[in-house]
Amino acid sequence: MDTQQQYSDDARPVLEAPDIARVLTRIAHEIVERAKGADDVVLLGIPTRGVFLAGRLAEKLEAITGTKIPVGSLDITMYRDDLRMKPTRAIGRTEIPGDGIDGRLVVLVDDVLFSGRTIRAALDALGDIGRPRAVQLAVLVDRGHRELPIRADYVGKNLPTSLRETVKVLLAEEDGRDTVLLGSKPASS
């Protein structure tokens, strides 16, 4: 997890609050269209910010379909492939909706899609919890530079970046405001 301090002062917003709201509305409509009604959809957010995004998406889906959408969180810390390369990380919350995920369409929700390693870990974690009918991926920002054969089904914004740049999603629930910042890494790293 990157902290805000690691981002330089010249970080500029690429998505503002109204853009984020619009983008989530569009993704909600796309989910309903692709799933033909979203009857068996379960939204699972990846902590921290994916959980808030999943909550917002669920609200929008409920507004569109008029049915309750199960929403939960899936922590992938214990499934990471870089656990032994860094100090031990704190574990986030995994909360699977009561009816489980067997036979459902699980939509994973995360803020930024980068290397794809988080999603690989999430797929492993899902395998230990149940057997969904299908798994799809919704992200707010796809910044490229994949290291694994993984792609998103629903993308809020495709953001071509260089590896020297950083992408930071701020959400009201955690950071007090909604915005996506594009900055450059401090020279030291």
């Binding site: 499934y79 032994r84 860094k86 100090p87 031990t88 704190a90 986030g92 395998g127 230990d128 919890i129």
Partner: protein
């Protein structure tokens, strides 16, 4: 950085709360169809048990297996120790086999500390009970059980046990559980009272961060949790009380005494229980008694400790306390 878990007194408040919070997440794994996490895959953990144990050994083994570690069980009985092998040689054998962590129980106080600091072995050492000294994972699982019951499962996250009144009753003298609990509960902000016959109170107890009482009936109405300790006959080499009957009448917990406790208060026991001695069957089988819950929580807490000590390339538990003391 803390590499070993030797004593509950080494843990800071933040370390302890982090372990309890992590254990809360680990507990959720037990509700899943596949009770396994890949986190310690490829790591080898040796359970080195020089002293008999049922629940601690099984609990550690379950925790290690749920985290996908490879487990080597070593019991002193039936090993080269019974042929006279020393702790040093056993440790060096394990080191040569490439063990990544050692869980040790020993009847001699200080054996885990010796193993951790001797340089015989490079792996992290987790104390699973040494003599009459410490049993830190037991204290952590007791604190976890108290936090769940007295504060709440979700409400407890990030919280300590500030202001909770905990009473430990019985054979304090021989009890590593009591020592570990007093240390950890004090760190977590609880008020601890020890109740025991004067003969079973250790020398120097006045330096411990707790109250001493000899009157169980007076303390019970002011307790949020009462922990009954087993009378450890195997460690007793003198007559500490006249008869078992007299001990039970003055320091045993029966239904009548339990009724004097506040409505919300719980009865705990680290096990194994001696029914009819320190606790009656009526109390042991009541729903206020958390013995079975403590066993289940033990697996979650040990998973948390193993993850935090071994999960990354350096431990998540700081070691500031012992550094200061040195």
């Amino acid at each position: 950085m803390m590499r070993h878990l030797i004593s509950a007194a080494d843990l800071t408040r933040d370390d302890a709360v982090q372990i309890l919070d992590t254990a809360e997440e680990m507990a959720r794994v037990a509700d899943r169809p596949i009770k396994k996490l890949p986190t310690l895959r490829g790591r080898t953990i040796c359970n080195l048990f020089f002293e008999d144990s049922t629940r601690t050994r099984i609990s550690f083994e379950a925790a290690e297996k749920r985290l996908s570690a490879d487990v080597i069980n070593f019991a002193a009985k039936g090993s080269s120790v019974s042929k006279g092998e020393s702790l040093k040689d056993t440790a060096q054998t394990l080191e040569a086999m490439g063990v990544d962590a050692v869980v040790i129980r020993h009847s001699a106080s200080g054996a885990p500390y010796r193993l951790a600091t001797s340089g015989w072995i490079d792996a992290p050492v987790i104390n699973a009970g040494d003599g009459t000294h410490q049993h830190p994972t037991q204290a952590l699982l007791d604190a976890f059980t108290m936090r769940r019951r007295l504060v709440g499962r979700d409400a407890g996250l990030g919280q300590d046990l500030a202001g909770k009144r905990i009473t430990l009753v019985g054979d304090v003298l021989h009890s590593r559980v009591a020592r570990s609990n007093v240390d950890l509960l004090h760190t977590l902000g609880a008020e601890v009272t020890l109740v025991a016959p004067p003969t079973l109170v250790p020398v120097g107890v006045e330096t411990w961060p707790c109250e001493i009482s000899y009157d169980l009936d007076g303390v019970l109405p002011k307790s949020d949790a009462v922990m009954m300790l087993r009378v450890q006959r195997e460690r007793m080499n003198a007559a500490f009380f006249p008869t078992e009957r007299e001990y039970s009448r003055r320091y045993g917990l029966d239904g009548e005494r339990m009724a004097k406790m506040p409505e919300h208060a719980i009865v705990m026991h680290p096990g194994p229980m001696v029914r009819g001695m320190e606790i009656t069957a009526e109390v042991a089988d009541s729903d206020r008694c958390t013995v079975v819950e403590q066993v289940a929580n033990g697996v979650s807490v040990r998973m948390a400790v193993l993850y935090l000590l071994l999960g990354g390339n350096e431990s998540a538990v700081s070691h500031t306390r012992t550094e200061e003391n040195k």
